[in-house]
């Protein structure tokens, strides 16, 4: 037996023992994992995006009523989650997909991942958010992407917040606005679509060139725009106007550090300066749990879930019978009209609009 002079013999003894222990542990982990996925018939799999949330109580009401266990599979942001659903359509990951919005709706419908379902609750749903006449994708909620401003800034500077897109080109609003890159951010894309809805595919680039003249700042993601650049958030950035959601001021009240009487920010809902994002749910083709999947969709459209959504995901009910929580009644501003671009046009022109925009604004 050879011994290296520097060697302490307990080292390899210990490491050999450690190796066996580790091996046993690894086997145990694999076995445990195998036990965790038993073939239970009553499991409903719901595939969705990162922002999905629900009250534990509300979900367990559905589970006990239908004797089912719901497994939520979060699959990245909206675009990524949808891509996964499309690529796995021959062997679907789940029974239901929730979270495709109107900017991605055409991609989902063209790829034919959903089975139609004419839910009995559709009669209670707002008419103008039903964008798929064949009911493959059923609307669940909506939220408005709107400009937000920092109230304190405008008070201090004795300035009125802008009321329309044209206002944003005026010298007094120079250097105040930060927006997101539509190529990488969902509110960024919504805001680009708002300008297209207002000025048309021929005129929107001129408006953007005007914004660039007026010292517009573009960043890649909502987090940087809101927390690093926007002065109304607790990141205390330098710019007082940002593209965000009409629900953001309400968030600022609910998640304030010390209780607030009113939000430090406000959403601009006048003009046609907001874009309505509608989110849809659909039954994935090839599900073996069609009945349960239908029940899940009815559940999502029912007042119980619809009333739970606003405080969980900060999106708003499409069921006309659902009541809004008091905090929203008090602080939420809802636009009367929003800019509109059809899902078909979005799908057809997305790439060319993004390219034109990039050429005009970033180069």
């Amino acid at each position: 037996m050879y011994h290296h002079p520097h060697l302490k013999s307990f080292f390899y003894l210990k490491s050999a023992m450690g190796f066996k222990v580790a091996l046993l542990l690894a086997i145990a982990v694999v076995l445990l994992a195998a036990c965790q996925t038993p073939r239970e018939p009553q499991v409903l799999k719901v595939m969705t995006h990162d922002s999905f949330d629900v009250s534990a109580e509300v979900l367990s009401a559905f589970e006990s009523e239908n004797n089912v266990q719901v497994q939520i599979i979060k699959s990245g942001d909206t675009g990524t989650a949808l891509n996964k659903a499309i690529l796995s359509k021959d062997n679907p990951l789940a029974d239901v997909f929730y979270g495709v919005d109107n900017t991605f709706l055409s991609r989902a419908l063209e790829e034919d991942i959903f089975e139609p379902y004419h839910s009995p609750l559709l009669g209670k749903i707002l008419e103008d958010v039903k964008l798929d006449p064949q009911n493959r994708a059923l609307p669940v909620d909506y939220g408005d992407v709107c400009l937000n401003y920092d109230k304190a800034y405008f008070q201090e500077h004795n300035l009125n917040p802008p009321q329309s897109f044209e206002d944003l080109l005026k010298p007094e609003y120079k250097g105040l606005l930060v927006v997101q890159n539509p190529a990488t951010s969902s509110p960024g894309l919504a805001f680009l679509l708002t300008t297209i809805g207002n000025f048309g595919p021929e005129g929107y680039l001129d408006f953007w060139r005007g914004l660039v003249e007026n010292d517009l700042l573009v960043v890649n993601d909502w987090e940087t725009a809101y927390y690093t650049e926007f002065s109304g958030s607790s990141g205390k950035g330098p710019r007082p106007i940002v593209v965000s959601y009409n629900s953001s001021p309400v968030f600022e009240v609910i998640y304030a550090e010390t209780p607030l009487d009113e939000p430090p920010t406000a959403a601009i809902v006048s003009g046609k300066t907001c874009f309505r994002q509608v989110e849809f749910v659909g039954i994935l083709k090839g599900t073996k749990n069609r009945k349960l999947a239908e029940k899940w969709i009815d559940f999502m459209l029912s007042p119980l879930f619809q009333e739970d959504m606003p405080l969980k995901m900060f999106v708003f009910p499409v069921n006309i019978e659902a009541q809004l929580d008091e905090v929203f009644v008090k602080y939420l501003a809802i636009p009367e009209v929003t800019a509109f671009v059809s899902p078909q046009d979005i799908a057809t022109y997305r790439e060319s609009w993004l390219q034109e925009w990039t050429e005009a604004v970033l180069r």
């Binding site: 060697l7 307990f10 009250s55 675009g79 996964k84 890649n220 987090e223 950035g237 330098p238 993004l354």
Partner: protein
């Protein structure tokens, strides 16, 4: 004939050597085949099959696209500059850590690894707190110089990208090169000095050539990291800058142009493979067997005043870059700022709030659980990547110089050069049938982390293994040890330190990994970075505060983890 090649010809019985090497390769290759190449091939095949115009069309589109060409050049340019500056800053640090003993060294060493684990969004917030238009430095300068506008603009500049890359990756140089340097036999340079060489000559003709394999290994890893950079470019670089990786993300998620995304992915992979193969070629020519010395023979405490001053200056510089942004983050996580922005006060609210489920959300997870989840993924990653990396490193040492080993070396490295978006989709497509239906399994996370950690483990181990004198192993063989015993009783103890460096890399990579984790995470088992992202993607002071509080916790967990790995060294491996 130099001593290295003489030694090789003495040890290697070519046929037996290559069969043993093949057996050693089998385990890591089987793992890579199943969890890397199979998913990758599946997604590439499906992506190209979606193209209606055939295989050549996306390639032609890439070659003729102005945007793609710009992305390729920018990627190479920024990665080269970033790597250069990372080495420039890291090498003196590696020297200091390797040769000098001083109080607080161990703490500083583990602090230098913290940036490695932090999510980009948080790092951007930290830099902004320091260098942003309303940041500390600008405010100080404006007050001191009576300026009306902030003098430094940091965010969305090319320098921001370079600085952030240096901030993230300096630890790679400190660890890989520093460790190797600390074991270089000082007698070599002492001899050179005695023969009349001055310090510069000693460094240039003796130390530097011996160090080169470790420097190259570090440079390769840093370069590939910068080459495939995503978060730093998006958040700190802004929309004016795009790397190939950013372009892949845009083509996949925003446009769903999978053939184009796959073409770019293949290009990125080819670059990674090419780089690694040429690295292998170089490092095989450069490695020499050495007598590695225990650290206590190579270290001395700092005595001369001039030396002290230089070291102190350098360390202050290094750590103000690495630690000032982190300090700003930690500080901010204890501060409540009034809505007007005028007043600040100390608070523990963000930390307290982490434990409160205010909305009775189904996905509420107390921070302790996220810490445990992160730690268990990290431990599994350390275990798996050492289990796979050690045989791979042994095989690489054995077959050193052969074409096969150069290729295999490249294969191990490929996961680092693979886009997370591409890989995420590959897992979904490929691992979808029992017994390997891992699509929604938490097991997928340590597997994905191991893919990223493996190159680091192999790169930490190979230079150390190659430098073991063959004589030691020959002596063992002559005394009757079989190859397994030789590895266990000669190689392993001699590379104990490198094993710990490898373990530290695997640990930090797993703790900080976000891209792949986000794509395959189960909401019930979020890691700390996933939780940070959940908070920072919602408006509200409490959400922002909680993201910063969790970042502080992540830093503490990382530092403690690395310190305890260091302890392990002291307890069991002794002086090596």
């Amino acid at each position: 004939m130099d001593r290295g090649s003489a030694a090789v010809s003495l040890t290697a019985h070519p046929r037996q050597g290559s069969r043993a090497a093949f057996l050693l390769w089998l385990i890591p290759l089987a793992f890579l085949g199943l969890f890397y190449f199979y998913p990758l091939a599946t997604i590439l095949q499906v992506s190209f099959a979606r193209g209606e115009a055939g295989l050549a069309a996306p390639i032609r589109a890439m070659l003729t696209s102005e945007i793609a060409r710009r992305a390729v050049w920018f990627t190479i340019y920024q990665a080269s500059l970033s790597t250069f500056f990372t080495l420039l800053l890291g090498l003196p640090g590696a020297y200091i850590f390797a040769h000098h003993d001083f109080r607080g060294k161990r703490l500083l060493q583990s602090l230098s690894g913290i940036p490695f684990v932090l999510p980009t969004l948080v790092v951007a917030a930290a830099f902004n707190a320091l260098l942003g238009p309303k940041g500390l430095v600008n405010q100080l300068l404006m007050n001191a110089l009576q300026l009306s506008a902030p003098p430094i603009s940091f965010a969305y500049t090319f320098s921001a990208i370079i600085i952030a890359h240096v901030f993230y990756n300096t630890t790679i140089v400190l660890r890989l090169v520093g460790d190797f340097w600390s074991h270089l036999d000082p007698r070599l340079s002492q001899t050179a000095t005695m023969l009349g060489a001055n310090r510069w000559k000693v460094f240039w003709h003796v130390t530097f050539p011996l160090l080169l394999p470790a420097i190259l290994a570090a440079a390769l890893l840093v370069f590939i990291f910068d080459f495939t950079s995503f978060g730093v470019i998006l958040v700190l670089g802004g929309p004016r800058f795009a790397t190939i990786e950013v372009e892949i993300f845009y083509q996949t998620v925003s446009l769903f142009n999978l053939p184009m995304a796959a073409t770019l992915s293949v290009f990125q992979l080819a670059c990674t493979l090419g780089l690694t193969v040429s690295y292998s070629f170089l490092s095989n020519r450069l490695s020499r067997p050495l007598s590695l010395r225990p650290r206590r023979f190579t270290q001395h405490s700092v005595r001369r005043f001039g030396e002290r001053l230089l070291i102190a200056l350098y360390l202050v510089g290094l750590f103000s870059l690495l630690l000032a942004p982190l300090g700003a983050l930690v500080l901010r996580s204890f501060l409540a700022i009034s809505a007007s922005g005028e007043e600040m006060r100390f608070t523990l609210d963000y930390y307290r709030e982490l434990n409160i489920s205010r909305r009775e959300s189904l996905f509420f997870v107390p921070p302790m659980v996220a810490i445990l989840v992160s730690l268990s993924y990290a431990s599994a990653t350390v275990f798996l990547s050492l289990l796979l990396g050690l045989p791979a490193a042994l095989a690489l040492r054995r077959a050193s110089g052969s074409k096969l080993s150069r290729l295999l070396d490249g294969l191990i490295m490929l996961p680092l050069g693979t886009s997370a978006v591409t890989m995420g989709l590959g897992f979904i497509l490929a691992l979808d049938k029992p017994p390997l239906d891992l699509r929604a399994s938490p097991l997928l996370i340590p597997l994905a982390h191991t893919l990223v950690a493996l190159p680091f483990v192999v790169r930490s181990l190979v230079p150390a293994l190659r430098s073991i004198r063959p004589r030691l192993r020959q002596a063992a063989a002559m005394l009757g040890a079989d190859p397994r015993q030789t590895v266990l009783h000669v190689d392993l103890p001699l590379i104990g330190r490198a094993l710990l460096v490898a373990a530290t890399f695997a640990f930090t990579i797993s703790l900080g990994e976000f891209g792949a984790t986000a794509l395959i995470a189960r909401p019930e088992y979020p890691t700390i970075p996933i939780m940070i992202y959940r908070f920072i993607s919602q408006p509200g002071a409490l959400n922002y505060g909680q993201a910063l509080a969790l970042s502080t916790i992540l830093m503490a967990v990382t530092a403690l983890g690395m310190l305890s790995i260091e302890r392990f060294r002291l307890a069991e491996i002794g002086e090596f």
